[in-house]
């Protein structure tokens, strides 16, 4: 039971983050591309629980922002125009998991007030909404890419280990080749050799494919090791004697022994891939505007005044930190459960 304890907290945190971002349509007050040209780099909204007369309300209100004349980017609240927040209201349509269609949102406020819980970016877009939508993209990319890497590694590692001979030799040479390339450089090179200007959905799939190809080598080698020892077991021999085909032996007896390792590898790869996607998008090689990704949101920090003055633009970084720390703890817990001690790769 003490083993189980280490899993719970990171697992819950990771699941919570994923769930919230998947349902970003519900949690985000605005669409990710909805702009307000009058309110670039607005600071996070102040929530007022007392109205202009001083009465306490349970429902907070938000006041409209007005730009101070002659001063760019500095805002003042117009206390005469305050609007209460509405919860569970109807707004723009969105879909979650490509299946559920809805128009219910958690938070909304009547215009012209804007509820910028995390401020706004250079185009007046709500940072929180973009954080959620961007998170959906970055996290999804990481998950899917890790799944493809691990899946590809399982396939090639099992085939190489089971059949041996020249099949094994070829796969192992390829593994060495891919491991001889510096990871990040390979990623960049692969990305370089693919079309630069693609639509966001194509970019997303491209990213997943590229990340998947870059990372299959290490899982494949580890899985091959397991397959090599498992295929010599007497009970596998017995199953073959009963007439079991190669495929039966592989999927019934050998592959299940690799699942523990696969999960651990996946837990290690997901944060790496999320970071890779963020890096690529930060440098302009990943997902492009207007679709948000934590990477291209952080790219705004490369401008001097943004870096220094607008602290809320760092929000994706903080979210990234939370996600990474929980994934590392999850991977640690898995390794502890599997081997008794945690190694760092």
């Amino acid at each position: 039971m003490s083993k189980g304890k280490h899993f719970v907290v990171p697992m819950v945190c990771v699941a919570a983050v994923h769930l919230v971002t998947f349902l970003s349509g519900f949690f985000a007050p605005y669409d990710y591309s909805e702009q307000d040209r009058h309110l670039p780099y607005a600071p996070p909204s102040t929530l007022h629980f007392r109205d202009a007369q001083g009465t306490w309300h349970w429902r907070p209100s938000v006041c409209a922002l007005v730009e101070r004349p002659e001063q760019f980017g500095v805002y003042e609240e117009d206390r005469t125009r305050c609007f209460p927040l509405a919860f569970f209201t109807r707004g723009y349509r969105y879909s979650a998991f490509w299946l559920i269609q809805s128009d219910r949102h958690l938070l909304a406020v009547t215009p012209p007030a804007k509820i910028f819980l995390l401020g706004s970016d250079g185009y007046g877009r709500d940072e929180l909404s973009r954080l959620l939508y961007g998170g959906r993209l970055s996290l999804c990319a990481g998950l899917l890419a890790a799944a493809s890497s691990v899946g590809l590694g399982l396939l090639l590692g099992t085939v190489a280990g089971y059949y041996g001979g020249w099949c094994d030799a070829i796969v192992m040479r390829c593994v060495e080749l891919f491991l001889a390339l510096p990871w990040l450089y390979l990623l960049f090179a692969l990305r370089a050799f693919l079309p630069l200007h693609v639509s966001p959905s194509q970019a997303f799939l491209l990213l997943i494919a590229v990340l998947g190809i870059v990372g299959w080598a290490r899982p494949a080698r580890l899985i091959r090791g397991i397959v090599l020892s498992e295929k010599e077991r007497t009970y596998v021999l017995a199953a073959r004697m009963f007439g079991g085909s190669d495929f039966y032996l592989m999927h019934q007896h050998i592959a299940p022994r690799t699942y523990g390792l696969l999960l651990t590898q996946a837990a290690l790869l997901v944060p790496q891939y999320i970071l890779a996607e963020v890096t690529l998008s930060f440098l302009g090689l990943g997902v492009a505007e207007p679709v948000p990704s934590w990477g291209n949101m952080l790219a705004a920090l490369q401008q001097y005044d943004v870096l220094v003055s607008y602290w809320w633009i760092w929000a994706p970084g903080f979210a990234l930190f939370l996600v990474c720390i929980n994934y590392w703890r999850l991977a640690s817990a898995m390794q502890v459960a599997a081997e008794g001690t945690a190694h760092w790769q």
Binding site: L181, P182, A189, R191, L196, L285, L307, G317, L320
Partner: protein, 323 residues
């Protein structure tokens, strides 16, 4: 000896494989440098095709590969369309700049990590140990990008450090000592980022390796014999822990060229990373290939060095591989 020759040969073939792989990717990729030119109505399509022929882009793949190999043999590493110069003339200065950064960072990181790791292992579960583990856990979770941006913010806010670049403007007029000081000041930010990025893994691995070595039966037996803890630590446990540490060191050496890409871009340090990025955005493929192959050379050499060191240091491996 046969083993070492075998390893060197294997590394060579690996590098050949890497270069072939790069070329195949170039072949498969849509678009090239001259596509941009084609869009420009002022440049006629004949000029474009003539340029393509001049650079040999219309030849089949094996011919291009052979010509590239020839260029490598001559020390040129292909041709850059954007800079109109041999790739090597771009690579070497940039690589040197990167190595200055990563070399210092790696040295510094190991100099901190080794004593810290050994100390943590020696006083397991003590205050130092817990603090180290906590600190490294936090550092591990912070992505490199955030570290770089954070330090840049610190540099800009406090004006203690320059906000990027390698040398101040007008540094050519300074004397040699001033130039060195200037360089050093500019290096502090990126080196700090790199050190903080790789420190946690190094410390944890060192600690783990030392703990494993100290738990071995012979170390425990040495304790009961009354040998002083310090002697056990350095004379007995450390040589055993050296084995995994050498592999880690080989990896450190191997990633000297490739670990600092992001940091260089954020700090505007003129290293290999920004060159690669620029070449990618400009579709200057020979530069990309050259940079990737160069970085792979380092990685492969690093692994090879690790193997050689292991044989030199660990008598068990020496016997196994050279017998």
């Amino acid at each position: 000896m046969k083993y070492l020759a075998h390893r060197v040969l294997q590394s060579f073939f690996l590098l050949v494989g890497v270069s072939v792989l790069s070329f195949i990717f170039v072949e498969l990729s849509p678009g090239n440098y001259f596509d941009e030119m084609r869009l420009d109505p002022r440049i006629s399509s004949e000029t474009v095709s003539r340029l393509r022929m001049q650079y040999g882009l219309d030849r089949p793949l094996p011919v291009r590969y052979a010509r590239w190999l020839d260029s490598v043999a001559k020390g040129q590493f292909g041709f850059s369309f954007a800079y109109n110069a041999p790739v090597a003339s771009l690579l070497w200065p940039r690589a040197r700049n990167t190595l200055v950064l990563t070399g210092s960072a790696t040295l510094l990181a190991w100099m901190i990590a080794l004593p810290l790791g050994i100390l943590s292992a020696a006083r397991r579960n003590g205050l130092v140990d817990h603090a180290t583990l906590l600190f490294t856990a936090l550092l591990l979770a912070i992505p490199d990008l955030l570290l770089a941006l954070g330090l840049l913010l610190f540099a800009v806010r406090t004006a203690l450090l320059p906000a990027g670049g390698m040398m101040a403007v007008g540094s050519e007029e300074m004397g040699a000592w001033d130039q060195t000081k200037n360089l050093a000041i500019h290096m502090i930010g990126p080196v700090l980022v790199l050190v903080l990025a790789c420190l946690p893994t190094l410390v944890r691995h060192t600690r783990a390796a030392m703990v494993d070595a100290l738990n071995l039966p012979f170390a425990r037996a040495a304790r009961t014999h009354g040998i002083s803890p310090r002697r056990i630590l350095f004379r007995h446990a450390f040589p055993v822990a050296l084995n995994p540490l050498i592999s880690l060191f080989a990896l450190s050496i191997g990633s000297l060229l490739s670990a600092s890409l992001l940091t260089e871009v954020v700090f505007s340090w003129p290293g290999l990373g920004p060159l690669l990025l620029e070449a990618i955005l400009g579709r200057d493929f020979y530069v990309v290939t050259g940079a990737v192959v160069l970085a792979s050379v380092f990685l492969v050499c690093g692994t090879l060095l690790g193997d050689f060191l292991l044989i030199a240091v660990d008598p068990r491996i020496r016997m196994e591989k050279l017998a």
